[in-house]
């Protein structure tokens, strides 16, 4: 015999699920939500088809500010479905075939990329509930033209040193039209000092090494790196297919890139060895899907070729290697624009600057930089996860905007990252999208 309150609890739970689940799955906004700039439930844009759901949920309506109709709710639902399909399918293949799959790397990439797509879609739904899906931000966060980045490392081991990394980045952009552009990517990076690691073997303990504990230094490493590449984005006609109408426009991308690291490694008393590791990505291609005027999913994938060169101990010249096929390279990012200054100030005074934010969640399928995500015994398969929050502050009337970013890289530990940069005017100046 069920208690008297059972029926009531179950009915309330069912009612709650009926309301919450569709809202979360589609990122729907309930009636009456949103500012005047947002799509309003029940008020489709003039001339646009209006599905019945639009009468109740804004995410099912065409979002204002775009030349063509984008309905973020179905777009996010589709991405979530695709991510589940990709992630579960790839994981299923890996488990079904075990670790013996000779070319298992693409499946691992699908697992990581699918996870970001799924997490991004859910975050997108939450963001749509909080700040709305549109309209498009006129001055959204993009890669800064000139920036300085830092990644903390740190150590908790006595006698060791793990200096932060610093990078100088450039990203000038040439716009062909408001949806197609070419960006030059450049970065010079390095460690701010030498990394130092101790040897914990107890038989080597040296009580005379005062100030640094008793564990002698085993290895030290200095690092310098650079990366350069081109990032070409070409907007596709919208809709590119009849069936993709109202799901958001897409871009195709091509980003040939080279990443290079040189390490000077002091191996105990043996001497210093130079090791160069170069990653070539000549065929890195990708796509970006604008799921809503403020949300994007970007995917890159391509073959990777590595070159390893080295010097003799204490030598100055390098024995150069040749390119070898390496694991696939891939990236998956979900970006959410967050307007921070679209509301007028409470005191009525005009704002001196426009501030926009962007939350990015990404997975990089490469452990080239020394970071990979390990979970239990799943070690050595996945690359790192990135979470970034970036602010763009543009004084009213200024051609230059400042960008500040903070984030984290999760993989072989946890690194806090920060960036400071400026966004200079694009060449030539085009309407921003």
């Amino acid at each position: 015999m069920r208690p008297w309150y059972w029926t009531g609890v179950r009915a309330r739970a069912q009612l709650g699920a009926m309301l919450i689940v569709p809202a979360l799955v589609l990122g729907l906004e309930p009636l009456g939500y949103g500012s005047t700039a947002f799509a309003k439930p029940g008020v489709p844009r003039a001339g646009e088809p209006a599905p019945a759901a639009c009468r109740r949920f804004a995410a099912m309506c065409c979002q204002p500010g775009d030349e063509a109709c984008v309905r973020p709710g179905p777009a996010r639902g589709l991405l979530l479905g695709l991510s589940a399909l990709a992630g579960a399918g790839a994981a299923g293949i890996l488990f079904a075939l075990g670790d013996r799959l000779s070319n298992g790397d693409p499946a691992v990439l699908l697992v990581g990329g699918g996870a970001v797509a799924g997490v991004g879609a859910v975050l997108g739904m939450v963001a749509a509930r909080v700040s709305g899906d549109g309209p498009r931000l006129e001055d959204r966060v993009r890669r800064e033209t000139l920036g300085l980045g830092m990644a903390s490392a740190g150590t908790r081991v006595l006698g060791e040193r793990n200096p932060p990394g610093m990078s100088l980045r450039v990203g000038p952009t040439w716009w062909f039209d408001d949806r197609s552009r070419l960006r030059l990517l450049g970065e010079v990076s390095g460690l701010l000092g030498a990394e130092r690691q101790v040897d914990p073997r107890p038989q080597l303990a040296d009580a005379g090494a005062s100030g640094a504990g008793t564990q002698p230094t085993a290895l030290s490493r200095r690092r310098l790196g650079f990366a350069f590449g081109l990032d070409l984005a070409v907007g596709l006609p919208y809709p590119v297919l009849r069936r993709s109408a109202r799901l958001g426009p897409a871009e195709l991308r091509y980003r040939p890139e080279v990443q290079y690291r040189r390490d000077w490694i002091t191996l105990g008393d043996a001497g210093v060895r130079m090791v160069e590791h170069t990653m070539l990505l000549p065929l890195l291609v990708g796509a970006r899907w604008h799921l809503s005027p403020r949300q994007r999913f970007t995917l890159y994938v391509g073959p990777r070729f590595d070159i390893v060169s080295y010097s003799a101990l204490d030598g100055r010249s390098l024995s150069r290697g040749k390119p070898e096929i390496a694991p696939l390279y891939g990236e998956a990012w979900y970006d959410i624009d967050v307007p921070l200054s679209e509301h007028p100030r409470r005191d009525g005074v005009a704002r001196r600057a426009k501030t926009t934010g962007m939350l990015s969640v990404g997975y990089v399928h490469s452990r080239f930089g020394g970071r990979g995500l390990n979970v239990g015994p799943v070690i050595g398969f996945l690359g790192p996860v990135h979470v970034d929050w970036i602010l763009r502050v543009r004084p009213v009337g200024s051609k230059v905007a400042a960008q500040l970013g903070a984030g984290a890289i999760i993989g072989n530990g946890f690194a806090v990252t920060g960036t400071v940069g400026v966004a200079l005017p694009d060449v030539p100046r085009r309407p921003r999208r």
Partner: protein, 419 residues
């Protein structure tokens, strides 16, 4: 006054930037709070477990084979005292070994069991100049027991070495994990091959297992393997895989097998075993690579580890690819003839990996019994035959019960062995 969202965002930015401020409040010596998922803590563990102060005050230390003084020690074995006066000394690998016993203040008699030693090895024990030979044990047994009395203040040494003909073999496999039954079948085949090889004057002198002996790094899994290992009629050299080490609270792998990072020379081949269970190696081991890869007078040089430093597009690579590249550089610089790995539950051969203009060969032999998914699995071991300057690897498939012949075909660059 700014909008609250804006102020909130600026506050978070400030907090994030403060994260870069250096802090020294939490500094500790390495592994003072052990996490055995950290490879450096396993280095500490394997060295701690290579020495012991017995209940009678005898300091027992594993040494490098050529050591003459007992002032230090080396992670070349595992010392245990299961009961007072009883010593179990597991030698980590085939080839010569040395153990020192520094007497305590009182005379002591120890019942010593040497484990994982070659039945063909000559073993001596006693103070320098007064060594006595320990008689051989049961045919095919890799353990020997004897009593040892320390009645003066001289250090007692236990040393062992085996005679080697110019032709000999080494077997390699990896990844037993969930299927010790299949590994038993592999051991059956190794016993048969060992007897045939001995008659042919080409003894099988060791088995290398490149990690993942257990699925979940539990003691009961290692206990299940112990009687199987005891049937192998020659020494076994093991290193840790990701499934052996991921429980961070206790170094169960090291407690059962001793070191994961060690090197040995048997007959004319030098083998460096490297613990890559964490998808990387300990920086202190990276610093020692020139020493671990020093072949001495050996003609051949092998390096064995669990994670393949060159994974191709198998997906089974290192968590730190930068360190993997640096390790391959050390292999190339030392002139490693063959890199052996597991992790990928398959047989793979990468015969020509370019490192600095030179060439490395890597064979993945994760065929020790672990699950290989749908389809007929290919289990077995790699046989490496050495004859003077030549080294010939080939694969011996040990089909699972129910199949009447090999399930796989030879690789283009790696043949199946002649029966």
């Amino acid at each position: 006054m700014n909008h609250p969202n804006e102020r909130r965002a600026h506050r978070w930015m400030l907090l994030a930037l403060l994260a870069f401020a250096p802090t020294h409040a939490c500094i500790q010596p390495e592994c003072a709070s052990p996490d055995y998922g950290n490879p450096e803590c396993r280095v500490l563990a394997e060295n701690e477990l290579a020495r012991l102060l017995t209940a009678a005050g005898v300091e027992v230390r594993f040494q490098e084979p050529g050591a003459a003084v007992a002032s230090s020690w080396a992670a070349t074995g595992l010392v245990r005292e299961p009961a007072a006066g009883t010593l179990a000394l597991r030698v980590a690998a085939p080839g010569p070994f040395a153990i020192s016993l520094q007497p305590g203040p009182m005379p002591a008699t120890l019942q010593v069991t040497l484990e994982n030693v070659d039945p063909a090895a000559t073993i001596t024990a006693g103070p320098p100049g007064a060594e006595v030979e320990i008689p051989g044990g049961v045919l095919g047994a890799t353990s020997r027991s004897f009593a040892l009395t320390l009645d003066d203040d001289r250090t007692v040494w236990i040393r062992g070495a085996r005679p080697c003909p110019p032709r000999f073999r080494v077997a390699v496999t990896a990844d037993i994990q969930t299927n010790p039954w299949q590994f038993e079948r592999i051991v059956d085949r190794l016993i048969v091959e060992s007897q045939a090889a001995a008659l042919a004057g080409e003894p099988l002198v060791g088995l290398v297992i490149a990690g993942d002996l257990a699925e979940s790094a539990r003691d009961d899994e290692y206990e299940a393997l112990a009687p199987i290992f005891a049937r192998v009629p020659f020494p076994i050299a093991v290193t840790a895989g990701n499934h052996d080490i991921y429980r961070p609270r206790s170094p169960q792998y090291n407690r059962n097998y001793g070191p994961g990072n060690h090197a040995f020379t048997v007959c004319d081949v030098h083998v460096a075993m490297i613990d890559t269970g964490s998808g990387t190696i300990a920086p202190s081991v990276q610093a020692r690579l020139p020493e671990l890869l020093d072949r001495g007078g050996a003609t051949h040089l092998l390096a064995a580890m669990h994670h393949p430093p060159y994974p191709g597009i198998t997906g089974s690579g290192w968590s730190r690819e930068d360190v993997a590249a640096q390790v391959m550089v050390e292999f190339a610089a030392a002139g490693v003839d063959l890199v052996l790995a597991g992790h990928n539950h398959a047989l793979r051969d990468f015969p020509d990996i370019d490192i600095g203009g030179g060439s490395l060969r890597e064979i993945i032999v994760g065929t020790g019994g672990a699950y290989q998914g749908l389809g007929v699995p290919r289990y077995g071991y790699l046989r490496i035959a050495f004859d003077g300057d030549t080294m010939t690897p080939c694969f011996v498939e040990v089909e699972p019960r129910g199949l009447d012949g090999p399930a796989g075909d030879p690789l283009g660059t790696l043949a199946y062995c002649d029966p």
